[in-house]
Amino acid sequence: MDHLDKLENQSVFILREAYKKFKKLAMLWSIGKDSNVLLWLARKAFYGYCPIPLVHIDTSYKIPEMIEFRDRYAKEWGLNLIVGQNKQALAEGMNHTLGRVTCCTALKTNGLHQIMEQYDFKGLILGIRRDEESTRAKERYFSPRDKNFEWDFKDQPPELWDQFKTNFDENTHIRIHPLLHWTEVNVWEYIKREKIPVVSLYFSKNGKRYRSLGCAPCTNAIDSKAANVDDIIAELKATKTSERAGRAQDQEDTYAMQRLRTKGYM
């Protein structure tokens, strides 16, 4: 079994555990490369079907290509898509100039919170990976969040031998991370092998491409000539910059991501 097969089999195992154990289960679809791989793995796990509803949190600041991609594949693959938006915060004028961390919390974390409450989801599948940044490097596959949505990173439950935390208190929920053990290069190699469609923003146009996708005002394209998946894999193997260097909210201050994630950010 090669490396990508190993990663795939472990992710399929986790998705199947989640599907079996959580009656109220959803999967976050950010339209980025990772959540597209996740969706693909779900279709592998469940033989072409995705029996888990997909949630997209639309901050209204997403790059237009992302929304086009979402609507096209939701239709083509017959997905059960739920779009959430913190309309109240937007009506009150929330935007990144009020502070990036404040804006992410309002439009993403709280937007997600509203959908979770509305549908009473108890399990939420996300495509985060350990190699993205240092708080994610410390995550569990099944990671509890308390009634306030908060992550107690100082006291995480043990996780051994693929026995996951699938029992939990009322008013809490579990975040499930089937891609935790993948790296950025793995994701692209898998996209290549499986021919998984991704948003064209990842490919270089006029010397620039997006390496990580988010809201338009807080996501910067990088200098790159990588115009196809092979180019991207070659570029990543040689790069010395981090994947999320173009995501402004991460750079707001030293522990911005820790603060965001403690409060329930993805």
């Binding site: 399929v12 072409g48 043990p158 053990h181 981090s242 260097a245």
Partner: protein
């Protein structure tokens, strides 16, 4: 101190080769995170942006460059210079891919160390050359042995603080070797290093000419990859049964052995049996057979009723089916494990209520001292030999035969509180549960 230049990084293997997971364990402050940080940096797998970021944080704190901060990303970890939870990082050499699991050394975070170590193929056990063998140095070795990790290299760190002395190295090695022998661990090697200065981490050091063995990186590349489970008897625990269309698919992961269409399978504990009709796959060809580690799905010839929890096997190499077994258990819960206490037991995909029937003995997992015989409870961080009775018979193996179906966890108040390995099935003398 400035961050040093990086070693190779270009000549790496394709991502489609083998992966080895290794864990760094040992007592708090003996330098595990520093070693991992140094290793990742010198092999060229820490982004420049991250190095710059850590440099800045260290300057703000008025410190020299802390390699440990490359891993210890939480604010509390950096303020106190301690690892709270396991971090997993990735790098490659010419030989293979590595996942490095940096485990915390503080006793308070033992459950996190176990979470990390339970996923490892091999381990490095660190000892501070100046401070010598400490409580967790011994406990971690014992737990690694219990978790079934057979390849363990001992690393004597901070050799710079003892003047790179061969005598200090030999003395600690001799004492520690005796301890390891007492728990049946045969160390792979002893390596003197200084993680802070980079001696014997990636490159061999000229400061210890008396040492002729390999560096940390060379030792890593020499470890064997994990045991092949494909020659063992078939174990396929049923995870779920799907009926998304006209197919009825039994889903599960092959833990050992292999399975092909036409094979007659026996499901335990129910005892039902039928032949495999097909191996199902989406967006790819159906394989002729599937082996260990494959999350698969089978259509059967006859529509037998099986549920999650059963283990598919072959009749001539079946697991035990019993409602009692003896096990070695390590306990991680704040509340003590009680004799007569009721818990939830999870073994492969089986979940069943259980009772701790007896606690033959409890030992201190560091000193190996026997704390009590015929005990009534097991406290946090202790290890015990116990007999567990389950509410209804389950299928299992002894850990030494098939690890994946010979180990279990105990759940209390929604969380995993203990882990155990099965020593043997126990006859039922008619006791009730």
């Amino acid at each position: 101190m400035d961050a040093p230049e990086t070693f190779h990084g270009e000549e790496t293997v394709a991502a489609t080769s083998e992966t080895l997971q290794f864990v760094m364990v040992g007592h708090v402050d003996h330098g595990k995170s520093t070693l991992v940080g140094r290793l990742l940096h010198e092999t060229g797998f820490i982004p420049d942006t991250k190095v710059q970021h850590v440099k800045q944080v260290c300057e703000d704190q008025g410190k020299g460059f802390e390699f440990a901060f490359l891993l210890d990303g939480l604010e509390e970890e950096r303020d106190q210079g301690i690892t709270i939870d396991v971090a997993q990082m990735f790098f490659r050499t010419k030989k293979r891919n590595y996942v490095v699991i940096d485990a915390p050394g503080h006793k308070e975070f033992l459950k996190n160390m176990i979470s990390g170590a339970s996923n490892a193929d091999v381990a490095f056990l660190l000892i501070d050359a100046e401070e010598g063998i400490q409580e967790q140095t011994q406990r971690h070795a014992y737990l690694l042995a219990l978790l079934g990790i057979k390849q363990i290299a001992v690393v004597m760190n901070k050799m710079d603080l003892v003047g790179y002395s061969e005598e200090v190295f030999n003395r600690t090695r001799d004492v520690y070797s005796k301890y390891l022998a007492s728990i049946n661990v045969k160390p792979y090697s002893f390596i003197p290093i200084s993680a802070y200065h980079g001696d014997n981490v990636v490159r061999r050091s000229d400061k210890m000419p008396w040492y002729t063995g390999g560096s940390i990186l060379e030792t890593l590349d020499n470890f064997q990859s994990n045991d092949d489970r494909s020659k063992l008897p078939l174990r396929l625990p049923v995870q779920d049964v799907y009926k998304f269309d006209k197919r009825r698919i039994i889903a599960g992961r092959v833990e050992s052995g292999s399975v092909s269409p036409g094979d007659e399978l026996l499901f335990l504990p129910s005892g039902k049996s039928t032949k495999v009709k097909s191996i199902e796959k989406w967006s790819a060809e159906s394989p002729a057979n599937v082996g260990p580690g494959v999350s698969t799905g089978l259509q059967m010839e006859e529509q037998i009723f099986v549920e999650r929890g059963e283990i598919a096997c072959r009749r001539d190499s079946a697991p035990h089916v019993a409602d009692r077994f003896a096990a070695n258990l390590f306990w991680m819960g704040q509340k003590h494990l009680q004799k007569g206490g009721k818990y939830l037991l999870k073994l492969a995909t089986q979940e069943v209520e259980c009772v701790v029937e007896s606690i033959a003995k409890v030992i201190n997992s560091s000193t190996l001292e026997e704390i009590s015989k015929n005990a009534h409870e097991v406290a946090k961080n202790e290890v015990a030999e116990i007999v567990i009775a389950v509410k209804k018979p389950i299928a299992f193996d002894t850990f030494d035969r098939i690890p994946e179906t010979g180990r279990f966890v105990i759940v209390q108040d929604h969380d995993v509180r203990g882990g155990g390995i099965i020593l043997k099935a126990v006859e039922n003398f008619g006791g009730a549960i």
